[in-house]
């Protein structure tokens, strides 16, 4: 029965990839709209829509923050934008190079797509591999999707668009090149994947948890009123930062203690996850990935040169 269900799902998915995304923009602040994804993992059923995309309708036109996981998503996102404003899209800002945030770029190939230089470099190096991975996991919803590199580079500083002063921050904690955007007019902070909320953080490109913790401090000090995490629900309080800091610190000390005790990876990825993170989705899954990404560094800190 279960297999029949899965079969039917994949059958309907294959009918039309474009029709599968139900993107409903939600107004979250003046001129500002959120298109919220689920906090699940990538799957055939969600077409990779696990990510928060957003847009700002400025006086000059629409600024889009992240383009989603596929060409089809990008097209539906663009249609969803057109359903709430007649203004044209004039600018895309990419928070970082991960596939769920940039593979909708093709739907915006007529406007400048801006990112940090490091993001462009990472997408150049890893984009095709990541896209292949998405095809494997997400399947047909990826049809026609190709990597489209950023066409404009931005740096830390102020970007003024149509009455919205956007403060751009160049940070590193999640991927080595992470753009956070504070709209100084509305106080909306687009944190990208520097902030995961109620969803376990992913570490494949992090330069290290200490760098990430430092970025959390930087972001928290900004004069924000509303936080848009890369994954997870909106917040108007400090809770996303509190949770990120708590989780990063736990992860860091748990990995260090495991390495100090001489544990090998399998033992580490079985370790208990504190009860207080029970409301955070995918903790075990991301812990297993994190052990693969980061544990070798923690091991090396406990080892000495032994060769003679």
């Amino acid at each position: 029965m279960r297999y029949l269900f899965i079969f039917c799902c994949s059958f309907f998915l294959s009918l039309s990839a474009v029709a599968d995304y139900q993107l409903t923009p939600k107004k979250i602040a003046e001129n500002t709209w959120l298109v919220e994804g689920s906090t699940d993992n990538f799957s055939l059923h969600n077409g990779g829509n696990i990510v928060n995309a957003a847009f700002i309708v400025t006086d000059h036109g629409v600024v889009v923050v992240d383009t989603g996981p596929s060409f089809a998503y990008g097209k539906v996102l663009r249609a969803a934008i057109a359903s709430v404003t007649d203004k044209p899209v004039i600018q895309v800002l990419l928070t970082h190079h991960h596939p769920d945030h940039v593979l909708g770029n093709q739907a915006f190939d007529d406007v400048p797509i801006a990112a940090l230089a490091g993001t462009k470099k990472l997408l150049q190096e890893q984009g095709n591999y990541m896209a292949e991975n998405m095809y494997r996991v997400v399947g047909d919803a990826m049809r026609g999707t190709e990597v489209l590199l950023p066409t404009q580079l931005v740096e830390e500083g102020l970007m003024e668009i149509g009455g919205h002063p956007l403060r751009l921050l160049s940070l590193t904690g999640h991927t080595g090149a992470d753009l956070a955007i504070l709209d100084e007019r509305t106080g909306v902070l687009f944190a990208g994947d520097l902030v995961f909320y109620q969803r376990a953080l992913a570490t494949p490109n992090t330069p290290g948890l200490a760098a990430w913790l430092a970025d959390i401090d930087t972001l928290e000090k900004l004069p924000w009123k509303l936080i848009v995490p890369g994954h997870g629900p909106l917040a108007t309080d400090h809770q996303p930062f509190v949770q990120m800091r708590d989780y990063l610190n736990w992860l860091d000390s748990a990995l260090r203690e495991a390495a100090q005790a001489g544990q090998d990876m399998n033992q580490v990825l079985r370790m208990p996850i504190p009860e207080r993170f029970a409301g955070v989705s995918l903790t075990r899954y991301e812990l297993i990935r994190t052990v693969s990404h980061l544990y070798p560094r923690y091991e090396q800190q406990q080892w000495q040169r032994l060769d003679q």
Binding site: M265, N266, L269, P296, L306, D307
Partner: protein
Amino acid sequence: MKQRMVCALVLSLVSCWANAVEGDPQPSVMWEYFHERLLNNAEFVFDEKVQVSVPPFAEDARQVPVEVDARALTGRVEKIMLWAELNPIPQVLNVYPSAELEKFLAVRIRVEQATPIRAAFLMDDGIWHVGSARIEAAGGGCTAPSVVRAQEGWEDHLGEILGARFNTGDNSRLRLSVSHPMDNGLVDSIPEFYLDQAELRDLSGAVLARLEIFSAISENPTITLGIKGQPETQLWLRDNNGNEFTAHIP
């Protein structure tokens, strides 16, 4: 290397009419083949006392951690064999342990696709005690380009050994990592170049364990061995080009 590839191809054809053996916790059409080829058709039992642990999926198919814990087995171990059934290079490690070794080891391996992983302990009763696990993998771990070779000056670090001994109650865990590309001959026409032998010795030179190493083991091999007591030991390694490396583990 080509021979092994052909071999793997023939194997997958053979598997079309082979059947999984009854009682196998990881039913696999390849079991009979490896039972014959590696265990010489000797008597065996699938034994839950041989716990093989792998992650539920391979985040990095080039570095898949495998843990074998058979401390629940009683008796003396003659030989341990570890293999990944559906790998182009299935064999991972053979260990000939002395009584000083604990029945525990961990190692990181490359996997090319989802595969059963087997650890077989030949005990002094003459029976192979077999533990199993299955790793899910999108693949490509055996044919992915070397990370080591991509680093400039990697040759200067060849044979560097990092590690430590950790006390685990009355016993110890030796954790060691050796800088070596472990080329398996499947990537970019780079010929096989891998560590193939190792011995763990006490300070007088007596062998505590002899290891036969295969190129299914990840580059910069990381290995963990359990050892009784808290002795100082030495590690000797050799690769197939005749380079020898030694380490002192305090």
